[in-house]
């Protein structure tokens, strides 16, 4: 399954709830305001590091650039563009948006 999260982990609980429901082999894609969670050296990044042992973590590059945090994304997270988002949605049998 591909999970998407579009809110910051500080403002909402969707990031935490998503990680609590992602299974081995799933992918999590951070989009829109969700991308801040992947910033190096933060508490959410530590949670992502933990999750990355079982789950693949992606962030949407256009959203990263818009927010001025390019170059500050933690290691082990892959950047994708909108075409890459489409590929991820195609590769996984279902897509769940954590709204």
């Amino acid at each position: 399954m591909l999970h998407t999260v579009n809110k910051t982990p500080y403002e909402r609980n969707s990031f935490d709830s998503c990680l609590a429901h992602a299974r081995k082999g799933d992918a999590v894609l951070l989009i829109e305001d969700g991308v801040y969670a992947a910033m190096k050296g933060t508490a959410p990044a530590k949670k992502l590091e933990q999750a990355a042992k079982a789950v693949a973590i992606y962030v949407l590059q256009p959203d990263v650039e818009a927010r001025g945090i390019a170059g500050r994304i933690m290691d082990g997270v892959k950047l994708v563009d909108y075409a890459g988002f489409v590929d991820l949605a195609a590769e996984h049998p279902t897509v769940q948006a954590w709204l």
Binding site: M1, N13, S14, S17, A20, H21, A22, R23, D26, P93, T94, V95, Q96, A97, W98, L99
Partner: protein
């Protein structure tokens, strides 16, 4: 997928409810999808996690806010053959709620079981 197969396709639909009722319209409009969707004879499950568990609270009385109390509709779902309602135990616990607080019979499951339910679904609708 062939035309023939499409006609008889039965997919596992999961409606994920994560929001409290009334503060926003998502819970109500999600329920409207469930009711319409019931006519399509799919394999339907409803999941209530996080603040979504509040939707099922007994004793809702919306007179004072002048909005429609739609909680009795959850009781009517059985008549639409929508019978699989799953509520996450961790979400209830965190909010000081128990199964007895809910307006309909549900299956209370763990977050791990909820994760499996999500993984087994083919169409996930979350609003």
């Amino acid at each position: 997928m062939s035309e023939e197969m499409e006609g008889g396709t039965v997919k596992k639909f999961l409606y994920v409810n994560r929001k409290a009722p009334y503060g926003t319209i998502y819970a109500l409009e999600s329920l409207e999808v469930v009711l319409i969707g019931a006519a399509f004879e799919q394999d339907v499950s409803l999941a209530f996690i996080d603040d979504g568990v509040y939707e099922l609270m007994k004793g809702q009385n919306t007179k004072g806010i002048d909005m429609k109390n739609f909680s009795p509709t959850y009781r009517a779902l059985e008549g639409y053959d929508v019978e699989k309602l799953y509520v996450e135990k961790e979400s209830l616990d965190a909010r000081g709620l128990a199964e007895a607080d809910l307006i309909v019979p549900v299956k209370v499951i763990s977050a791990r079981e909820m994760t499996d339910l999500m993984a087994e679904s083919e169409v996930v609708l979350s609003f």
